[in-house]
């Protein structure tokens, strides 16, 4: 069986752009909601002094991990922002003192078993860095009675156009990635580790094949450059042949699937005790003068990043967080960098308005859907508000990859309708 997918032009303009440090932004605005799950609560007050790595937010809920400051300075405000996903959340604003002093309390964690690994990963503030942002400690905190994890899949597909931040992680931090893989493997007693890289990154494939040549049980898997290769279910199937079924988690199939930058981050914390408070982000798009990969503290305003990449900020008409297929379009460039953002794309052209015509039943959306769904049927069922039909067609499996909208010759907004239909079908 081969999963469907679509061919996109890669536009990896930044693949040879070595990561540059942004330096210290004057002010950071750290959102207390960085990823899916419950938001954190600020643990600092206005006027508190913080350093790089100081914890500034946390919560007791399971799906939350702590948030740390990426700069040294003074907390000036506990504010509120509207995130691009439409949710309002608290923020901690920190004025930097420019010294970037590290918090003295930071020290490498002691990792001996599964529980201590999960605790350390939670303390590091790690969440999936590929986009969806599932808190990483949850993946490691599976129930050993119920799940036997035998395979770790490292997702380095990076199938979205433009984005190269994971690719740069592979090239620049290969030791860290391998170290992280081994750490997780050894602590959890996993038999097989596979790292899936798309064939449009031959240099990374070669580098890892060389470095892992003598390693037993760690495999580099060359994946076809087909979108959405990096979707969790897709890469899990293409790397291991296992099908993560409806309503299942990867652990139900004996798998842990992790983004490559996340693995690098876990290793960094395990070695130095420095938590997740800065990340690499790709800046590209036709409004960006110098497409680049920039490493910046979490909470850095997007305008600072755009300025560092020589962007003509006045002429931006469209700004995306993430890739052009699943990224979110932003209304305001003063929003901050989140832990889950792997790219900012700025374009000089407005979002194009497409006149859509009737569905001509060409079946291209069905041929494109990686999960074998029928988007054209979803649309018809949603238009007549047929909840039973939507559930029978498995609207709940749609992951909003956007392939159906991409291929539709009648330019129908299928992915958008799928999301509406999903909300409709699940509400009762």
């Amino acid at each position: 069986m081969r999963l469907n997918g679509i061919r996109l032009s890669h536009n990896k303009n930044t693949e040879d752009c070595e990561t540059v440090e942004l330096g210290c932004p004057a002010k950071i605005i750290v959102s207390m909601s960085q990823h899916i799950g419950a938001p954190a609560e600020p643990t600092v007050k206005v006027g508190d002094l913080v350093k790089v790595g100081t914890k500034i937010g946390d919560a007791d809920t399971r799906m939350t991990c702590p948030i740390h400051s990426g700069v040294s300075g003074k907390v000036t405000k506990i504010g509120e922002i509207l995130l691009p996903n439409g949710k309002a959340c608290k923020t901690v604003e920190i004025e930097s003192d420019g010294r970037q002093e590290k918090d003295e309390g930071l020290s490498p964690p002691e990792i001996t078993d599964k529980a201590s690994l999960a605790a350390a990963v939670r303390a590091s503030g790690c969440c999936g860095m590929g986009g969806a942002g599932f808190p990483t400690h949850i993946k490691l905190d599976y129930d050993e009675e119920k799940a036997h994890i035998d395979t770790l899949v490292i997702n380095a597909a990076e199938c979205e156009p433009y984005i190269t931040s994971d690719y740069r992680e592979l090239i620049e931090n290969s030791e860290g990635v391998i170290g992280g893989m081994k750490l997780i493997r050894d602590v959890l007693g996993i038999e097989r580790v596979c790292i899936g890289i798309e064939e449009n990154k031959p240099r990374a494939i070669k580098l890892f094949r060389e470095k892992l040549a003598s390693e037993k049980g760690i495999e580099v898997i060359k994946l076809r450059s087909i979108y959405p290769q990096g979707a969790e279910k897709v890469i899990a199937f293409n790397a291991t042949g296992r099908i993560i079924g409806e309503g299942q988690l990867p652990s139900d199939q004996g798998l842990i699937v992790m983004n490559v930058s996340t693995v690098g981050m876990i290793y960094q914390y395990a070695q130095t005790g420095m938590p997740f408070c800065a990340r690499r982000v790709t800046l590209d798009g036709d409004a960006v003068g110098k497409p680049s990969n920039i490493s910046a503290p979490i909470g850095t305003p997007i305008t600072d990043l755009l300025a560092a990449a020589d962007t003509d900020i006045e002429n931006i008409r469209r700004l995306l967080a993430g890739g052009p297929m699943m990224g979110m379009s932003l209304y305001d460039p003063s929003l901050p960098l989140l832990k889950t953002t792997n790219a900012f794309l700025a374009f000089k052209s407005e979002a194009q308005e497409f006149l859509h015509t009737n569905c001509i039943r060409c079946g291209r959306c069905i041929e494109a859907c990686p999960l074998g769904l029928m988007p054209c049927e979803f649309e018809k069922a949603y238009d007549r508000r047929d909840r039973d039909a939507l559930n029978k067609l498995k609207i709940n499996l749609c992951m909003n990859c956007g392939s159906c909208t991409y291929v539709c010759p009648a330019k129908r907004p299928l992915a958008e309708k799928n999301q509406l239909a999903k909300g409709f079908a699940l509400s009762r």
Partner: protein, 308 residues
């Protein structure tokens, strides 16, 4: 601070459009048009042009009267006009052809909601209505004979044409259906351009071949004569009126092939391609219903326990 327009993902679209697809279909009909011009003379081209233009006029008029956005620019009416002309004998008076395009565009397509909404192939319905209403004129075939066309029966009735003549189209019949070669070139173009998948045409032609062989008829003669190539390549691949999945398209093709053979061999009508496609158009929603794709990793529907 400056605010931007936001839009839902994906922010990329492919270059495909309905107009482009129809344009490719028109390109694919060009070889058959040339063949018609060569074998039947300039009047064949006149008839094709006339049908194409009247189709566009009906479409525009309908959109105007029904207060719909004008849909002539998607070129689908042009395709319908050309395909209907392919199904007409070269001697047909123009006013009859105009009735044909009226039935195709106004009655079969626009009254059902325009592009994408019609349940049957407009060109097929147009042809069948003309066939039943003007049987004599619709069956006065012209045989290409040097410069002049002479009236005679189609090879499907006479059964006496050579394979080569049938293949290149030097035989009697509707003006676009005779040249298997030209139609195949068009079909290959459509497959290469990824406009159609070859499932329905192969299943259709294959079924006719197999069924003819089983019942002791000359299978090559059967697939080269009549409207089979035209129907299989251009009519049984119409998106709107055929199934959406590949599996469904195979079933559609097999059904068309069987009905065609039954009509050809045991009915009083000499040709059954158009009826077979119309009948399979009608069952398309059911084929779609039974050939839904199985979603990746979906839980099988809960089975009720069988009574002990």
């Amino acid at each position: 601070m400056k605010k931007y327009t936001v839009s839902p993902s994906p922010h990329l679209r492919s270059g495909a459009s309905t107009t482009l697809i129809m344009f490719h279909v028109i390109i694919a009909t060009v070889p058959a048009m040339i063949a018609a011009g060569v074998f039947f003379g300039w009047r064949a081209l006149l008839l094709i042009g006339f049908c194409a233009i009247t189709s566009m006029i009906w479409e525009r008029l309908c959109c105007f009267l029904m207060k719909r956005p004008d849909s002539t620019e998607d070129l689908s009416a042009l395709v319908t006009g050309i395909l209907l002309a392919f199904n007409l004998p070269v001697t047909l008076p123009l006013w009859i052809a105009a009735i044909g395009t009226f039935v195709a565009i106004v009655i079969t397509k626009q009254l059902f909601g325009g592009i994408g909404q019609n349940f049957a192939n407009p060109a097929i319905v147009g042809r069948i209505v003309l066939m039943l209403s003007f049987t004599g004129r619709m069956t006065s075939w012209a045989v290409p004979n040097g410069l002049d066309a002479v009236s005679s029966a189609t090879p499907l009735v006479t059964g006496t044409a050579g394979y080569f003549d049938l293949f290149i189209g030097r035989c009697g019949g509707c003006l676009g259906e005779t040249s298997a070669l030209a139609l195949l070139i068009g079909g290959i173009y459509l497959v290469v351009m990824k406009v159609i998948t070859p499932h329905a045409p192969l299943a259709f032609i294959g079924t006719v071949y197999a069924f003819s062989a089983i019942t002791g008829r000359d299978p090559i003669y059967q697939i080269l004569s009549g409207g089979l190539m035209l129907g299989a390549i251009f009519m049984a691949t119409d998106y709107v009126t055929t199934p959406v999945t590949k599996k469904g398209r195979v079933i559609f093709g097999i059904g068309c092939g069987l009905i065609t053979c039954v009509i050809r061999f045991w009915c009083s009508a000499p040709e059954g391609v158009s009826y077979s496609i119309l009948l399979m158009n009608i069952v398309t929603p059911y084929i779609d219903m039974f050939t839904r794709k199985k979603p990746f990793g979906a839980k099988p529907p809960e089975k009720k326990e069988a009574p002990q």
